[in-house]
Symmetry: C2
Subunit: 327 residues, 2 copies
């Protein structure tokens, strides 16, 4: 069985790290892939007037999964519709502190399960009158139930014995109230262990004691912030992969952006992108292969070469070659 | 001139730390205070059915300033209306890492200027139909201008040479777009230095490099989360004071809550409450007196006694006595 993978490198270092992930996937002999490439991002917008051409969206829609690199200024216009196109309802964001690296909190081993379809991301905004604007945040029982079920499931399958439900139901009593109540009901129905936490208090506790947490299920925007906070705890976005998971399709992307400051120099760290490819392998059912890729990345993190963001002077190509060697 | 101060101890350790702040203010010979006490919180709700009696709200409305301790389960029902009653549009939250303490990031010296009237805190929520809820977030040019002016002013008066405007305008293009555009215009009109930062990226950078930031101007909910994140960086809420500033009135409160786990034991740390009283002194124009109180608190943090939250075995009373001695 051949898996068709849409590959959308996007802007900046997306162009440099995406090929690394493709090379790694190609090196996995036990799985057959066919790669189809599409354009998106600032450069395409400058040329064609649209950041996400319909043909690219169609590629992602039709593929078995998508690898996405990064977008620059147009990030929101590219990644938000792409998440919709693949029908993604769950954004999975692990934040793990690798021993070889200088983390603010070396004991961090977290996975954020971020609701990926609603909240303020519904895009319902109005200018009511001059100088008065509104944004309508939407929370439904259906989406809350789905993300909670996914989160509890993820925790069980990945050996986490605790789930935290993040919310701000003391202020957003109806919307986050519904999110919280629904997620708690799912947890109770599954007879699962869980905690609940006000997201502001959680931000503080995560900074001080990340080791107290495992899987964190969050509304959309809370997940956006909390997962970036956790990226800070492990030493930055450089190593963080993510998965946008749908019922029948999925998109995998590093959490980092297009890094215009170093784009084109051939020194971007491909690890987050390669780790995103490992999540793609897991997602397609190749857990062992996913583990192999993760172990190869970890070996290279330990032994080098390293790119400049990690204090080394290796190139993207050298690090990629080392990962392929370690596979 | 006598300043009338409403004192609302509230629940839990609020009952223990608020008297400490009153004692400290009474010890300042250069300023005359008259204190009037009001009830609010869980205990009052259990007795009377309402967490914030009208008489208490009226006390705060009529006083020159209010000292608020903490509320428990009913926190939102007490502190949100109290902030309105005193007409507060700016929530000022310094997060300073004291040398004597074990901070995650010892170089943290931040002040969050949080918009205090709108965003999701407008409380406009609906259940549209079964299982579908909305929360309407409001951002106005007027409130955005006011908080930005306050923030730039605060930075200038307190020797910060940089202001960061936090936003999520890539997703909330109209609402945070208006906030951002307005705050940038205020900065430009004042010829002030400023940066802008997406609040998710800011969460990451604050965790890794808080020393790169000074004053951070934020929409309401972003300020709620980011200031708690910063509390984590300096070692927790225990030492953080805050001010809710209005045109002609203001309310001062520690950032910590009612701490039911240690309430009634006489071991609560009064520092955050006393530092809130120092902000009250600043606010009334007694900057030197405010500094004296802050220095006294710092002396005691250095030399002890300390309460158990800071690894000591001192009582609230002992710490308060030491602060009074150091004044
Ligand atoms: C680029 C932006 C629209 C996006 C988001 O807010 O989801 C980004 O911050 C992320 O977390 O992937
Ligand atoms: C208690 C709650 C309503 C409040 C808020 O959200 O403002 C608290 O978190 C705070 O930051 O003072």
């Amino acid at each position: 069985m051949t898996h068709e993978i849409a590959v959308i490198p996007g802007d900046g270092i997306g162009q440099e790290v995406t090929p690394a992930a493709v090379e790694v996937l190609e090196a996995i002999e036990t799985v057959d892939f066919e790669f189809v490439e599409g354009d998106a991002g600032d450069a395409v917008k400058a040329e064609t007037g649209t950041a996400l051409p319909e043909a690219t969206a169609a590629l992602a829609a039709d593929a078995d999964a998508t690898l996405f690199g990064a977008a620059g200024e147009t990030a929101a216009d590219v990644i938000l519709p792409l998440r919709q196109v693949v029908g993604s309802f769950a954004n999975v964001r692990p934040a793990v502190a690798y021993p070889a690296l200088d983390a603010v909190q070396p004991d961090t081993d977290l996975v954020f399960i971020r609701e990926n379809t609603e909240g303020v991301y519904k895009g319902i905004e109005s200018e009511i009158t001059d100088g008065v604007t509104t944004c309508t945040r939407v929370i439904t029982e259906e989406a809350s139930e789905k993300i909670a079920e996914f989160g509890f499931d993820y925790a069980r399958q990945n050996g986490f014995d605790d789930v935290t439900i993040a919310h701000k139901a003391n202020v957003m009593q109806k919307t986050d109230g519904l999110f919280l109540e629904t997620a708690e009901r799912v947890g109770a129905d599954l007879d699962a262990e869980y905690d609940t936490a006000l997201m502001d208090a959680l931000a503080m506790h995560l900074v001080m004691h990340p080791e107290d947490y495992g899987v964190v299920v969050c509304p959309n925007l809370a997940g956006d912030m909390l997962s970036d906070l956790a990226a800070g705890l492990v030493g930055g976005l450089g190593l963080l992969p993510s998965a946008n998971v749908g019922e029948e399709n999925a998109l995998f992307e590093p959490v980092h952006g297009s890094a215009p400051d170093i784009a084109g120099e051939g020194i971007a760290n491909p690890s987050a992108m390669v780790l995103s490819a490992a999540m793609l392998l897991d997602h397609l059912g190749y857990d062992e292969e996913g583990d192999r890729v993760r172990e190869a990345v970890e070996t290279v993190l330990d032994e080098g070469p390293r790119t400049p963001d990690l204090g080394g002077d290796g190139s993207t190509e050298e690090v990629t070659a080392a990962i392929l060697d370690a596979l």
